[in-house]
Point group: D4
Chain length 249, copies 8
């Protein structure tokens, strides 16, 4: 549309219908951003044909269903994150096209198939079973963005042998997402065992001086394993997007 408007303007210049001066004025007022940035709302969306993401916390089932309908109408898969069981029950009541995955607190509405476009495997690793929902949010996000995702769960550092036993799986991955709460030490150990990109995700698992995940976050930011990068506490979605971007290089 904007392209069309601009084409028309230039055509009128070409046809001599308006002067260069007036075209200059018109251009100055032109909504150029729409022209120059093709990709719409890249900060909230995965690529078209894959999934658009809705942050479910604090939204009503009706709101989610409505956004979902609009997206599905554009041929986009829909991923709803941070959806608790009560919200999900209500959502599925009014929008049965969604499937709910309680272990990930996500609901998915699949409209089109997701081709595998990522080049390697993204491995999601967790320290404890309680870190599961955040890890699953990352895994679902990456999966719906076209990546092969594997999981290696409950290999925290206080039983280091469980991790070392699976070192082949660690080294086989192209990108790693390491999820941990409490002292958040796992990414440091993993970061020392591989030479691939490692994205650390602190979780709010813990109590007392864990301060809702701050202890794990600080540990990860201060990791002695160089090359580690970190996302916000419980931000499985962000880690999934980042890993997918890397895996599509």
């Amino acid at each position: 549309m904007d392209r069309r408007a601009l084409t028309e303007l230039l055509a009128r210049v070409q046809a001599g219908e308006i002067t260069v001066e007036r075209a200059l004025d018109a251009l100055r007022e032109f909504p150029f951003a729409d022209l120059t940035f093709a990709k719409p709302d890249t900060h909230r969306a995965l690529r078209t044909g894959q999934a658009e993401v809705i942050f479910g916390a604090g939204k009503t089932a009706a709101e989610i269903a409505a956004i979902g309908d609009r997206l599905a109408a554009h041929g986009q898969n829909v991923l709803v994150t941070r959806l608790d069981a009560a919200q999900a029950a209500e959502l599925l009541g009014i929008a049965p096209a969604f499937t709910y995955h309680p272990e990930a607190r996500v609901a998915v509405r699949k409209v089109v198939d997701v081709p595998i476009t990522g080049k390697g495997t993204i491995l999601v690793v967790t320290a404890g079973t309680s870190d599961g929902p955040v890890a699953e949010e990352a895994a679902w996000t990456a999966t719906l963005a076209g990546n092969v995702v594997e999981r290696l769960y409950d290999v925290g550092v206080a039983g280091i042998h469980r991790l070392l036993d699976r070192r082949e799986r660690l080294t086989a991955a192209r990108v790693l997402i390491v999820v941990a709460g409490m002292e958040g030490a796992l990414p440091s150990v993993v970061g020392g065992l591989v030479d691939k990109p490692v994205i650390a995700v602190p979780t709010s698992i813990g109590y007392g001086a864990s301060f809702g995940g701050v202890a794990a976050l600080l540990a990860m930011l201060n990791s002695c394993a160089a090359g580690l990068t970190v996302v916000n506490i419980d931000n499985g979605f962000g880690a999934g997007v980042a890993a997918s971007r890397i895996n599509h290089l």
Copy 2:
């Protein structure tokens, strides 16, 4: 050496010189890690032939020179970070093989040439001129790890046109490192303009309620631009290593 010891042990089993039982016992005590993890000290080193990194802050010139000699003897380039002018002067007095780059606060001792092994360009972006040293630390780290590195400096968000004018450079990069102090908003804007991996580096530039970089760090962790990952305050080195890992995929 360890490999040799293990070979000997197996040979003796083969030769029937020791029983399986005793070999089992011996293996149980074996320093297996040396065997199974080929890569030495991966957390502090870039790949051999490139650069080994020394954190210069708090070290004497003599200590740095000594470590440098040892590394150079193994055919490794040496990168010293966080080296102020006074330390540098002293270091060059006793170890003239180093070159000092004051704008990056790094000293480099080049022993071997660094072939370009990274696949694309790493672009280092800064919000203000004061963020320069951290950006340069990242740039030098990535360069010595075999990457093509470009720079786009002083394009902070309060003069957003300066950034938008260079959008071709942003989209041309394979990996982006975005360095900002104060309110740390630049990575969010850049993250919305590209679909490549963006590593955000908060700096301690600012005063008062910047709390030595905490304001920028929090802003980056809470970015609405999905896919952003973050490293510690002023950690240009870590960002350089992470970007290089990604660029070598």
Copy 3:
């Protein structure tokens, strides 16, 4: 009344009914503040004839209704902020003169018309849809104080083109209120695009290391866009009053 009392006192001095000495004593005890500061309770009120504001959180419907009756009896419009749906339902049950605006979490009881006394337009800008209630609180506060208020919502920095497309609206405003949660970067960008006063309002939107709005607050306080001023987290009301004060200059 107080003025009357003082007039009487002076008249009695004039009439010689009391000595200067006794008048001196009487004056010393006089409630002079009432005399010297005409404007009553300016810290909680907008100007008479416009709206008096009640902070609704933690108050019962009965309490709000009672205060509302008293104010309305003095010919003042009443604005109740931070009123959730349940409180509102109860309030309207017993005080049907109120209208509830759920998108702003405010209830309004209009007693007199509000003439437009502000000189220009106050533009309320938000980064995301979740920032809406705080923005609406600001908008309603300014509206009831006699200002023309416009809205520009959901133009966060990760999709910078959406903001730039509307730059005419930004520059047309006389005062701007910019509302953002998460990384709180929007006011910095807006502050660089206009040369009018910009009031930044951090919101508690976010999770993890947003610490209930602290990340956004710090970002705004550390903005590289000079001339920005900041109010408390979620304080739409305060921003509305400040903007109205400026717009009435």
Copy 4:
């Protein structure tokens, strides 16, 4: 220049020298920001003919002198903030065109006269004598931006009569900047005495649990005096710019 380039492009379309298609491609790559945003670096500058501001802390005298020369060559006055006595002595040694004002820690290089363009008086108020340098930074910033600035110093709340005695001066101002350290209570009191915009500036004056100005900052953000806005700790410059923007409405 950019305007010239665009004019040429349109002229070539008009002349039929290039097709609409190619013009479209060319426009897509055009550095439009330079075109559309006339005002250069608005975030760091006051209006031309007045003063450009340099943050002096951490800069060498040579750097400051060089920037100063460049700005002066463009006919701009120069204001250097956060300049301690030692830096100042060195600066004046190599750039005698500067005058140093130690009470404000600023140096000024006046190239052109500053006409009074602000409409009313900006009053700068401080709680204690130690808040002086921050207040003076605000006062100098506003003065060089073309405002009449008055000062009312050392009227802290623990001797409330000193403030009340000068209430005429408070009510006579069009914009107020209130500077306070320690418990930061003064802006709340002033905010209750006037109905003009009040900008609160916390300072780092204090010790122990003042946490470098955090106590004062929090007090101001939580002020019960509605309509108060706040800037960063010790940010006299920001307050001066904000007050000037308001005073030019």
Copy 5:
């Protein structure tokens, strides 16, 4: 009892029934503290004949009633603090000897009359109406400890004339308790108007950057009014005890 035991021991020494050596050994094991410190549990109790205090939060009605019975049996009045309406209803159902004062969230069981033993008046001052419950907790605590208590409520600093109008009441008090939330500025102003002891009580009233009363607490600790002392957030009880101790000197 202990005194009796010790008397017996000494009598047996006197009677030559046990040797000095054995008496020495016995004394070493003696529960001497009971002997030497007459006052039992002074940290939780007001003086006998007055009131014993129970912290009600988190206790069941049955627990409170039981403790109350035990104390009453010893002739002590009982003050229960932090008791919400639901707890109170339940308590009065099973222990009708209590009276509930909802404005103070306290329940009182009066067993004996409380003679006035404090020497002057304790004045409890609040900044806003929301600070009422904390103030009332202080007032009830001091009253039941035998003090004359007066109240001066809702005289916050943003309407400073309301406070100044009552300055006679301020100067008439022997001890002052000043209760404020939000920016916590009132104690500083009061502290500058009187030369009597002022106890500042921060409350958790506020939102956002008030951090549950931390802003007010810090303001009070950093007060420029020398001679101010501070208690914990919402600790009306502690302020009441401290004021009573002073008023009994």
Copy 6:
């Protein structure tokens, strides 16, 4: 199993069925950790025959019952911590083999008797009655790990004689666990009275500036009584494990 696999491998070397080279390769891939670390999941378990511990908070009764069945089937006692009354009621409904101890918020399923293997007495001391549940969690943990546990409750420092009266009990213990909330001073006093190991446990008892136990935690970390060590806020379980490890030396 792994041992068997390794035995087979060595037997084949011995039998000359595979070369040393190939055995070397096979060993490199061997899950050595299982071999070398006999003790499974030592970080979450007490020794077999004693109790396995389940963190009950956030788990459903069904989940707990299921884990309990699995553990009991292996002949292990089960200790469930952080179990509130509602959870407990539900758990006992479906798993009547558990006994609930409300004062400790723990449920115990005893499968085998616990022999006393600790060498001395572990004394659990509390400052106030509210610290009881954390203390009981420590006591139950230590008891089920085979220790003699004694209790000395409600001997806080503001009534120091209550503590001093029981000094024999303090000095009789081999290891001490000292539990305190609020100002957390008790461990410092106890640490000065004994020369045995003292483990300090801060609790979240308190309000306002206790910040959920942070005040007590900091006090304990800064204790002037050398030799004190500290665990996380409310971490009675951790203190019980640490004390048991020491008591088994």
Copy 7:
């Protein structure tokens, strides 16, 4: 003077020289505060004839000497706090009328004798020898305000017998100032041993998680010893003023 001006005004009303209307206008502008508050700058001063206090930190010797001369000329003793040895040496060089007390970091210029006007003894207690300077600042402040001051130093809680041995001295005092760094536990213990007012002073003595005195401050605010009040970290001066106010009741 002001009283004289007001008398004149009333006399002219009485004499019919001015109308009531004009007198009313004149009164509205009257500097009433000077009239109504006799006591000048009570927040920074002790009573006349005693000492005026100068906060020495950050002031030059010349500034201090000048203020000292002015105060001495008004017949006031001068107390300079927070004066390090270097400052003191310089001060005594130019103002030999001062005496320096290095153990208190204070300098005193005595102009008139200080009569004992406080009614009892103020006892200053410290936990450790490092708390000395803060304690001495309190002691000197109270002494120069006309109080008998006694000292009981180095009786920290980890050697509780040292404190208990001097319990007579504790109970003999009318007001107690208790100074402690590190875990700040001493005021709680003292508060349980006496029934007099106890003012707790946290000091910045400590390292690591003492956070410059925050640990001690929090401990004191959360003390289980009711009736304790607290001042800012290292604020010996404030404690001295508060104790003196109490001791003069």
Copy 8:
């Protein structure tokens, strides 16, 4: 002495020289603490014949020498901690009986031999070389308290094989002190490999979001390895004392 005084008192009762009544009064005033607590100042001292410890930071060489002389005269070894090179040089100039150990920042004055009284080996483990001084402070403290101390340095988690290679040394120790800065993860890993007491010591090594050791401290407090206990940041001395207490059981 006190024992003698008490003996005399009892003898006089026995001899009938004083009545039981008077003896009772005398006992009430008796300095009982000296009697009942034999161990002098246990909080600052190791056992006699071993070492007394002086915290060197902030003390002059003369002060240290004087305390050292006094202790040595009582036949005690002296350990001075936190002594930098400059202090040490000055100390050895005036007190040559001290030996300085720069790697531990301690000075030792040995008066008597230290017999080995601890029952097993205390192993001090560090994550990085920078953690050395804190580790050495712990090691020297434990050594002078009569323990066999071994060291295992630079085995941080990012190169986990270096730790695993030495697992025999870990399991051979009776008590472990694990020292780590940055992310503080090492104690969690070690705690999972041994079943002996592990004391974790966070160090201030790190920058940015390490916040002077807070990141490491929080990680250790939140360790998933049960049985870990923690001391203050950089508190090698405290860890040494705690380990020695345990090792003497």
